[in-house]
Symmetry: C2
Subunit: 166 residues, 2 copies
DNA sequence: GAGCACGTACTCGGATAGGTGTTGTCCGAGTGATGCCGG
DNA sequence: CCGGCATCACTCGGACAACACCTATCCGAGTACGTGCTC
């Protein structure tokens, strides 16, 4: 279990393959899933969400697939997370403070004015977390991968995708 | 929906009432729930978890209840969150990078060495979030409440709890 | 009047259902490529 | 040999189940308090 679902991880790994593409190149969700040992049906579902979020563009028909909707350096990890999780907050304040039995249904103004103290702390924590995710783009992540993986592997991946198009 | 369950909110609101207590004073989960319009059964369950996490001490029998296990300034929001959510991480890395089909089941060392780039970003975001939650103690939160609530209200709460003990 | 035993009411504690979200699967709609047929 | 058309394979897209977790509830175990009895 984790706060962010595993769909985030799967989507990010798939998206990294889309970073170094020519404008005409597309990758089918099926190929992306199979290359990484993921469920093709589920990856397809995830890419539908990414498309609705405006992060990728879908090209239909034979030989079609997905490509990034904009430059990889303009797509942050936060964009991906929010696109999949619907921008859900770290903490949802239900204003418990309003329901104190002593108020008898009509809370005084001092109890409802401003932000709940607990909520304020959570918002700050969330904001810092989101800031970090926002500062890291897909291009940054891909750069990290490129630094690790040998050139031969990158070429092999390209070949593999091309062989799939035939 | 939110990343943190509403149990966190309920528990924190309840715990704030335990901050200004004398060492002999205890609060039953039933009273704490009723005062705030929460489900008594569920709050009882939450306090069981808080007790297992070592944050509160249970006193059994008539007139018993809960009290903080240590000073309110030594209990952080993070302690409460982790006690309830079991310290679940922001992101669970399943090492998708190991499963690339091109590796045929035996990933090379460069693919498994070090931290997954995605995981690294998530860990940093998580660490910043947790740091914020760690910096805020129950005492800090209670201080914020005291600054808002009028003295009369605080006294009224005390009276309400005492009337429950008779 | 004092001490003791008992009953009671209140507390915690864990085992037990219902609702919701995530994960995973399946089949249908649409589209571009391909091969075939006719000119 | 060339152009048009039907077929087909591949892609996206949304509707459909299985599973797990969160929320909520209920009942049982244990304990301190209060009461009544006995000495």
């Amino acid at each position: 279990m984790a706060l962010y679902a595993s769909s985030v991880e799967q989507a990010l790994h798939c998206l990294l393959f889309l970073v170094d593409m020519t404008p005409e190149q597309t990758f089918s969700s099926n190929d992306l899933a199979e290359l990484q040992g993921l469920s093709p049906s589920y990856v397809a579902k995830l890419f539908t969400q990414l498309k609705n979020a405006g992060l990728v563009i879908a090209v239909e028909g034979v030989g079609g697939g997905y490509q990034l909707a904009r430059s990889a350096k303009d797509i942050s990890v936060l964009d991906v997370v929010d696109g999949l999780e619907g921008g859900k907050p770290l903490f949802r304040c239900r204003d418990i403070r309003r329901n104190c039995a002593l108020f008898r249904g009509s809370p005084p103004s001092w109890a409802t004015r401003g932000l709940c103290s607990i909520h304020a702390v959570m918002l700050e924590a969330e904001q810092r977390m989101r800031q970090t995710l926002k500062e890291n783009s897909l291009a940054d992540l891909a750069q990290g991968v490129r630094r690790k993986a040998p050139q031969a592997y990158m070429a092999e991946v390209t070949t593999w995708f091309q062989s799939r198009k035939t």
